[in-house]
């Protein structure tokens, strides 16, 4: 009898011990460390104002300075590339793709992610290697195939421009130009690039006529049979997490490990961050390789249950069984209904080089 109770006790205790053990082995970093707002999925919604880090409050002077830096090609080694070259407002804050051209026409390995609404990313870059917009802004400057510069050289260039030094003093209280101040100014500008007035947003706010009947059907499928909102959720239409969709690499001999490059966790091999669906129609082609030319191509990829038979293919990827009409409805929803018409964002005019500080 004693042995039976011993057995029963262990049967009951074993799962608890195992769960505790498993949880101990796999710390949840870094996504959960950013707080409860990362817990989801949560319902599709309007965008709330982006969070502003305490160390970099928004001011109009700083935003204006950041905008000038954003459009200034002098940040690059050969004065040919600015942030806006690859994150062009006229191209949905991305570029023509499939991947971006840096200095000397060098091709990058991944599609240019949009700057619009990037303030809502929990982590920046396709692989999430930067924890903030400020850190992200520093990266391309010294990336050899993007701006090809060094921080030191770029700071020397900016410091030699009196107009920038004056503005830096006005914004940061010092005439010394630092990489942190440059990054903070650019990030402050990028936090203003928020698109909140799409037909979907108006529909959510109560305008039942904001969506056409087909777009409403598309929304229903987006949030149902299409499984889209299992990852593209919340106001940002992204979970900010990393998934392996079996996307064929641009060069099969050089597979891109994606998130694995950062975490070294086997589960992250070939996983890339979920991009937002907001304004997606403005920035074809799609996926981190830019291999999918149209939104319909993207939907068909998901309809097949993903791309290549990757051993690490995300468990959320299953064939969807969408009909042609359902695909068209989804595309209609993502094309017009998710495209914002915020005048201050959609028509941001580049700062002409002639108007940049001298």
């Amino acid at each position: 009898m004693r042995s039976r109770w011993f057995l029963i006790t262990w049967l009951l205790a074993a799962p608890v011990i195992l769960v505790a053990g498993v949880q101990g082995e796999e710390p949840l970093t870094p996504i959960t460390s950013v707080g409860i707002h990362s817990l989801g999925p949560v319902p599709l919604d309007n965008l709330a104002p982006p969070a502003v880090p305490p160390g970099n409050p928004q001011t109009s002077d700083k935003i204006l300075l950041g905008k000038k830096l954003y459009f200034d090609t002098r940040l690059s080694r050969d004065n040919t590339i600015s942030c806006a070259t690859c994150h062009d407002p006229a191209k949905g804050w991305s570029d023509a793709g499939p991947t971006s051209k840096g200095i000397k026409d060098q091709l990058g390995g991944r599609r240019s992610p949009p700057v619009s609404n990037a303030a809502y990313n929990l982590l920046q870059f396709w692989d999430g290697r930067a924890p903030s917009l400020e850190e992200q802004a520093k990266g391309p400057i010294e990336n050899p195939v993007e701006m090809g510069n060094t921080h030191t050289e770029m700071l020397r260039t900016v410091s030699d421009i009196p107009g920038y030094v004056d503005e830096m003093e006005k914004v940061f209280g010092t005439r010394k130009v630092t990489i942190d101040h440059v990054a903070q100014a650019i990030a402050a500008f990028e936090r203003t690039v928020v698109t909140t007035d799409s037909p979907f947003d108006r529909f959510i706010r109560g305008d039942s006529e904001a969506l056409t009947p087909m777009e409403k059907r598309g929304l229903e499928i987006f949030n149902g049979k299409g499984h889209c909102s299992s990852c593209h959720w919340g106001g940002y239409f992204s979970d900010g997490r990393f998934h392996n969709l079996g996307i064929e690499p641009l060069d099969p001999s050089k597979p891109d490990s994606g998130r694995h490059n950062v975490t070294k966790h086997p589960k992250d091999v070939g996983a890339f961050k979920t991009p937002t669906v907001r304004d997606a129609a403005l920035r074809a082609p799609y996926m981190h390789t830019g291999r999918e030319g149209t939104l319909e191509d993207v939907v068909r990829l998901y309809d097949r249950g993903g791309g290549l038979d990757d051993a690490n293919l995300d468990a959320l990827m299953v064939p969807l069984g969408l009909s042609k009409d359902e695909i068209q409805a989804l595309v209609a929803f993502m094309t017009r209904a998710m495209t914002s018409t915020n005048p201050e964002v959609a028509n941001v005019k580049p700062v002409p080089q002639s108007e940049l500080p001298k």
Partner: protein, 421 residues
């Protein structure tokens, strides 16, 4: 006339049982803001995505610990019922009955308590309908739906990746390739699931109390194995535990629910006491039934998906020891049965589903009056696919024959509204 009553009893019995026939958990849809079709091909049938979420302890695969738990969401409670008109016609008696019915009510709660620890509870409250339940007292003491805790289990997930998960409590055993709880048929059960044998309290698709381990692997292999009382909701009637195992393999992407092709096999081995006198009854009602004799069920199943079609089938074979067979104690009681079912979804977001199903059970020749053959057709239209709300117009027709030599024939027709929120 007797057969007419039998027919009516059958229809009512099935209808009363319907809270146990199907379940879906709108609490999850509410938590995530999803439409029901995120997890259901058509409510309440799970699609591949929903199956993977269920297999993962009601957590999105890969998102364990990164979604809200029950303490961070609205109370994860949902309700489901169906109501409508039932018409039953017995052919030989030329008798017809009809009436509006409420099938009962499911109160469902489910959620994640902590990373990889989740729960499911389904309570069916007692509903008094004395005037409708003509077989019992009219004072409410014989309720149309007795209260029952249909499910109450806790799940420990991902103990060794997806390869080991443990479910403890009362649950739907995992050897079922096709859940009777999440069937879109509201009246017609899988006959071979519901078939009971003499002197054996085991019912194939009863929720059972015990412990189950399950696992799912990347290459499409899944298993479920458990040790249970085998007496459904009742306390155990002997000290011998029942065992089961099921193995499933999916070919192609998907889980065999709405994509991919799945095959499976299962076996159940149980014990049933033959001496129920002089029982010792434990504090929780368990009895130490004596002279336990064994019985087993084995079978295989198949689910094929093509375009918008899902073809499902199952074969089962059952044997009870002759000591349990009071019809002919010189022979083991053996039976076989199965079903074949074809679902077709149409309209956007699967608003419409049509399905046909054939059920059969072959009882032993000396019990051939219990042979069953049933053809069923179903049409179900979903008024909308709103977040966490589902309303379906449901039409279901069955032609059923019971018995071999002089079969009892009947037509059952139901027009119902099935809703959950």
């Amino acid at each position: 006339m007797r057969r007419l009553h039998v027919s009516l009893l059958l229809v009512l019995g099935i209808l009363f049982a319907s809270p146990d026939i199907s379940q879906a958990i709108p609490a999850f849809a509410r938590k995530y803001g999803f439409n029901c079709n995120m997890c259901h091909t058509v409510f309440a049938k799970l699609n591949d995505f929903g199956q993977r979420v269920r297999d993962n302890g009601y957590q999105m695969p890969g998102q364990e610990g990164r979604e809200k738990n029950v303490f961070q969401t609205a109370p994860p409670v949902a309700l489901r019922t169906s109501t409508g008109l039932i018409v039953a016609h017995a052919v030989s008696e030329k008798g017809t009955t009809s009436g509006f019915r409420l099938s009962g009510l499911d109160l469902l709660a489910a959620g994640v308590m902590h990373r990889n620890i989740s729960f499911l509870m389904i309570y069916t409250p007692r509903i008094d309908e004395p005037s409708a339940d003509y077989t019992g007292n009219t004072d409410g003491s014989n309720p149309g739906q007795p209260g029952a805790l249909e499910s109450a289990n806790i799940i420990f997930s991902n103990l060794a990746g997806g390869g080991l998960n443990i479910r403890l409590g009362r649950f739907e055993p995992g050897y079922h390739a096709f859940s009777s709880k999440r069937s879109i048929y509201l009246l017609q059960p899988y006959e071979v699931y519901a078939f009971t044998t003499p002197n054996n309290s085991f019912v194939f698709d009863d929720n059972q109390i015990g412990l189950e381990v399950t696992g799912h692997f990347r290459h499409g292999f899944k298993y479920a194995a458990g040790v249970i009382n085998g007496t459904g909701a009742s306390p155990d009637n002997n000290n011998a535990k029942d065992f089961y195992a099921g193995f499933f393999k999916t070919f192609g992407r998907g889980d065999g629910q709405s994509a991919g092709q799945r095959v499976g096999a299962f076996a159940y081995y149980g014990w049933q006491p033959t001496k129920l006198d002089s029982l010792y009854v434990g504090p929780s009602g368990e009895a130490d039934g004596k002279a336990n004799m064994n019985f087993y069920r084995v079978g295989c199943d198949l689910s094929c998906n093509w375009n918008r079609f899902n073809l499902m089938g199952m074969l089962a074979y059952g044997v009870d020891d002759k000591a349990l067979n009071d019809l002919d104690s010189s022979l083991d009681y053996t039976f076989s049965g199965g079903f074949a079912r074809l679902d077709w979804t149409a309209l956007y977001n699967n608003r419409l589903v049509a399905s046909i199903m054939y059920n059969w059970v072959n009882a032993p020749c000396y019990d051939s009056e219990r042979d069953i053959s049933a053809f069923t057709g179903l049409l179900r239209y979903y008024l909308g696919d709103w977040t966490a709300v589902n309303v379906a117009l449901h039409g279901e027709y069955t032609y059923r024959e019971t018995g071999h030599d002089n079969p009892y024939r009947e037509h059952n027709l139901a027009a119902l509204i099935d809703f959950a929120f």
